[in-house]
C-alpha cells in the first residue's frame, strides 16, 4: 500500500462545486464524445435545418408542382392529398411555394446577418483595439444608433433606399449592426486584456503580430456561433419587412410576403398564412437551437 503523488495523478485545483463531483476523466474518442454530448433536441433541430438548407439549395428535389402555376379551379383547396398544405386563392400549391421560398428566406437571413456582422465587426473590433479617442468616438456613434430601437433603424434604411429584397437584407443588416458592434467590442476588450496577450508580449512578440495572430483569431472564434444565432432573428425580421410590403413583393414566393397575401383570406383558408409562418418559426428555432449548442460547446473550450 503506497501512496503515489506523481504529477499526473493530481486531481485538479478548482474545488469541485458542492454536490457535483467531477465526472471521471473522459477517455472516449472525439466522435463518440460528440454524439454523447449532443442532446436529442439538437439532433432534431439539426435534421430540420439540414432539410431547410437542402430545400434552399435544391428545391426541385422537394417540389411537386410549379409554385407559380395558377389553377383558379383549384383555389382554396384545404390541405390533403395532392396538396399537403392546401392551395391559395389562385390555386397555387402552398407546399411548393413554401419550399420555393426557402432559398430566398434563408439567403435573406444569411445576407442580413453577414452585413450586420461585417458592419458591427468593423466598428466593434476597431473600437476594441484602438486608443481612447477612437474608442469613445465609435462608442458615441453606436450609442446614437442604439437610439433607433428594433425595426426602426431598418425602416429608416428602407425609407431612404426604397423597398425590395436587396434593401430588406441591407436594412436588417444595418438594424442588427449596433448590437453586433457592442458585442464584438466587449469581446475584443476581453481578448485584449487576456493574460495570454501579455504572455505573447512577454515572449517578445511585436504588437502587430499579437494583433493579427492572437487578438483577431480569438475575437473571431465565436463568429460561426454568432452567424448561426443571428440568422434566425434576421429571417424573422426580414420576413416582417416583407409582410409589411417593404421587402420582397408578391407574387414572389417569400415567406413573409406569402403570409401577407394569405392574411386577406383568413376566414376561408387559414392554411395560406399558417404554413409560411410555421416555416419561419422552424428556421428561426432550429438555427437558434443549433447556435446555442455550438455556443455552449465553444464556451466549454475556453
Amino acid at each position: 500500500m503506497s501512496i503515489t503523488l506523481n504529477p499526473n495523478s493530481d486531481t485538479g485545483t478548482t474545488a469541485s462545486a458542492p454536490g457535483t463531483p467531477e465526472p471521471p476523466r473522459r477517455t472516449r474518442t472525439g466522435a463518440v464524445r460528440f454524439v454523447r454530448n449532443t442532446p436529442i433536441g439538437v439532433w432534431v433541430a439539426a435534421a430540420v435545418l439540414t432539410f431547410l438548407v437542402l430545400a434552399a439549395i435544391l428545391p426541385s428535389v422537394f417540389l411537386q408542382q410549379d409554385p407559380f402555376e395558377i389553377d383558379p379551379a383549384n383555389a382554396f383547396a384545404a390541405p390533403g392529398a395532392g396538396h399537403p398544405f392546401g392551395t391559395d386563392q389562385n390555386g397555387r400549391d402552398v407546399f411548393s411555394r413554401v419550399i420555393a421560398g426557402t432559398g430566398q428566406s434563408l439567403l435573406l437571413g444569411l445576407a442580413a446577418t453577414a452585413i450586420g456582422l461585417l458592419l458591427g465587426g468593423l466598428l466593434g473590433i476597431t473600437a476594441g483595439i484602438s486608443g481612447k479617442w477612437v474608442d469613445s468616438a465609435i462608442c458615441r456613434f453606436v450609442e446614437i444608433l442604439f437610439a433607433f430601437p428594433g425595426l426602426l433603424l431598418a425602416l429608416i434604411v428602407i425609407a431612404v433606399s426604397g423597398t425590395g429584397v436587396v434593401t430588406a437584407a441591407l436594412a436588417v443588416g444595418v438594424g442588427t449592426a449596433p448590437g453586433y458592434a457592442r458585442m464584438l467590442r466587449t469581446q475584443t476588450l476581453q481578448v485584449v486584456a487576456a493574460p495570454y496577450v501579455e504572455t505573447a508580449l512577454s515572449l517578445g512578440r511585436s504588437r502587430s503580430h499579437i494583433l493579427w495572430h492572437t487578438i483577431v483569431p480569438n475575437v473571431a472564434r465565436p463568429l460561426f456561433v454568432l452567424v448561426t444565432l443571428g440568422i434566425g432573428q434576421a429571417i424573422v425580421w426580414a420576413s416582417s419587412l416583407s409582410f409589411l410590403g417593404l421587402g420582397a413583393q408578391p407574387p414572389a414566393a417569400e415567406w413573409g410576403a406569402m403570409l401577407a397575401d394569405g392574411r386577406n383570406y383568413l376566414q376561408v383558408a387559414w392554411w395560406i398564412a399558417a404554413f409560411p409562418g410555421i416555416f419561419i418559426t422552424l428556421a428561426a428555432l432550429t438555427t437558434t437551437v443549433v447556435g446555442h449548442h455550438l455556443q455552449r460547446r465553444l464556451e466549454a473550450e475556453v
Binding site: 485545483t13 474545488a15 462545486a17 458542492p18 433536441g41 458615441r140 450609442e143 446614437i144 437610439a147 433607433f148 430601437p149 428594433g150 425595426l151 426602426l152 425602416l155 429608416i156 428602407i158 425609407a159 431612404v160 426604397g162 423597398t163 493574460p195 501579455e198 434566425g232 424573422v236 420576413s239 416582417s240 409582410f243 409589411l244 410590403g245 417593404l246 413573409g256 403570409l259 392574411r263 383568413l266 376566414q267 387559414w270 398564412a273 399558417a274 409560411p276 409562418g277 410555421i278 419561419i280 418559426t281 428561426a284 428555432l285 437558434t288 437551437v289 446555442h292
Partner: protein, 334 residues
C-alpha cells in the same frame, strides 16, 4: 483553495468608494448625455433622410402622374423651405422642434403633429400592455420551471426558445384566427378599449416573453447556485423563501435593463400588430409615410420613438441605481 491575492495579470487599479453626491452627479451626467443622444439622433435622421432619391415635390403633388408648372413647383419649394440650403432647413427644423412644430406633411398638407400626435398614446398602451404580458409569462416560466428537475427545466427551456423564435406577425394572425374569427372572444380589429388591446398585445408579448425568460432563467439559475443561497438555506430558510427573497431579485435585475430595450423594440415592432388588428399607432403611420415618401412624417415618427426610447432608458438607468445598491456604492473597505 484560492489565494488571497489577485493574479498579477489582473492589474492593480485601486477600487473606489463613491458617495451619494457622486451618484447625483452621475445621474446629472446621464441626463445630459441623453439630451445629447436625442439631438444627435434627430440630426442623423434628418440628414440621412435627405439622401432619399427623388424630389420631395413629387410626393407633395401626390405622385409622379401630375405635371405641374414650373411656377407651382417653385412656389411649393418656397412654401416648404426646400429652396433653402440644407443647413438652414436643418436649423429651421431644430428650432421648430423646440417649439413643438414638426413641420407640414407632404401628403396630407397639414401640420405633422396633428397626424402623429394622436398616434402616440395607442402605441404606448399597446407596448405597455405587451411588456406586462411578456413579464408575466416570463416570470411564470422562471418560477415554475427553473431548478425543479430535469423534465420541467427542459420543458421551460424549450418553450422559451420556441416563443423567442415565433414571428410576432404570424402569432398575431393565428391569435386572430383562433380567438377572434373562430371563437369570437375578442374583436378582430379596431381600437375599442382594453378588450381590443388584448390580442395585439399578446402577439407582441409572446415572442418577447421568450427573450426575457431566457435572461431571467439564466440569472435565476446563477443566483440559485451562489453560496449565499446555501448560507440562507443553512439558516433554516425554505425553498420558496430562498427563491423569492434571494434568487428572484437577482434574476429580475438584468431583466430591468432588458425591459428598456424591449419597450423600444415594441414601439417599432408594434407596427405589425397595428396592421393586423387595424389599430391606429405610430408604427402604422411610419410604414404609410415610408410607402408614400412623406418625409416630415417619417422623420417625426422616428424622432418620437427615439425620444420615448431614450427617456425609458434614462428612467431604467436611474431605477437600476436605486434597486441595485452595488451600482451606487461600489465600495470596498478592504
Amino acid at each position: 483553495m484560492t489565494a488571497s491575492t489577485a493574479p498579477l495579470t489582473a492589474g492593480a487599479a485601486p477600487r473606489t468608494t463613491t458617495t451619494a453626491g457622486a451618484t447625483g452627479r452621475a445621474i446629472t451626467r446621464r441626463v445630459a448625455g441623453s439630451v445629447l443622444v436625442l439631438w444627435a439622433s434627430v440630426t442623423l435622421t434628418f440628414f440621412v433622410l435627405r439622401l432619399t432619391p427623388g424630389d420631395p415635390i413629387t410626393a407633395i403633388l401626390g405622385g409622379a402622374g401630375s405635371a405641374p408648372s414650373e411656377e407651382t413647383v417653385a412656389a411649393l419649394r418656397a412654401e416648404y423651405g426646400l429652396d433653402q440650403p440644407v443647413i438652414v432647413q436643418y436649423l429651421g427644423y431644430l428650432g421648430g422642434l423646440l417649439r413643438g412644430d414638426f413641420g407640414t406633411s407632404y401628403v396630407f398638407q397639414v401640420p405633422v403633429w396633428d397626424i402623429v400626435g394622436p398616434q402616440i398614446l395607442p402605441t404606448l398602451q399597446l407596448a405597455g400592455l405587451a411588456l406586462v404580458f411578456a413579464w408575466g409569462l416570463a416570470l411564470t416560466f422562471t418560477l415554475l420551471t427553473v431548478g425543479r428537475g430535469r423534465v420541467l427545466d427542459g420543458v421551460g427551456r424549450s418553450v422559451e426558445v420556441l416563443f423567442a423564435s415565433l414571428p410576432a406577425f404570424w402569432v398575431g394572425i393565428m391569435l386572430a384566427v383562433v380567438f377572434a374569427v373562430t371563437l369570437g372572444w375578442f374583436p378582430v380589429a379596431g381600437d375599442d378599449g382594453f378588450v381590443s388591446l388584448v390580442l395585439p398585445a399578446l402577439s407582441l408579448a409572446i415572442p418577447l416573453s421568450g427573450f426575457i425568460a431566457q435572461v431571467t432563467r439564466s440569472s435565476f439559475e446563477d443566483a440559485l447556485a451562489q453560496p449565499f443561497v446555501l448560507s440562507a438555506r443553512a439558516r433554516g430558510l425554505g425553498d420558496t423563501a430562498v427563491r423569492i427573497t434571494h434568487a428572484l431579485r437577482h434574476a429580475i435585475l438584468p431583466g430591468i435593463t432588458l425591459s428598456a430595450w424591449a419597450v423600444g423594440s415594441l414601439m417599432s415592432s408594434a407596427v405589425v400588430a397595428e396592421i393586423i388588428f387595424a389599430r391606429p399607432g405610430l408604427g402604422r403611420s411610419l410604414v404609410d409615410a415610408i410607402t408614400n415618401r412623406d418625409l416630415p412624417i417619417t422623420l417625426a415618427v422616428v424622432v418620437v420613438i427615439a425620444a420615448v426610447y431614450i427617456l425609458v432608458n434614462l428612467a431604467v438607468d436611474v431605477l437600476y441605481r436605486v434597486v441595485d445598491p452595488r451600482t451606487s456604492s461600489k465600495g470596498s473597505a478592504a
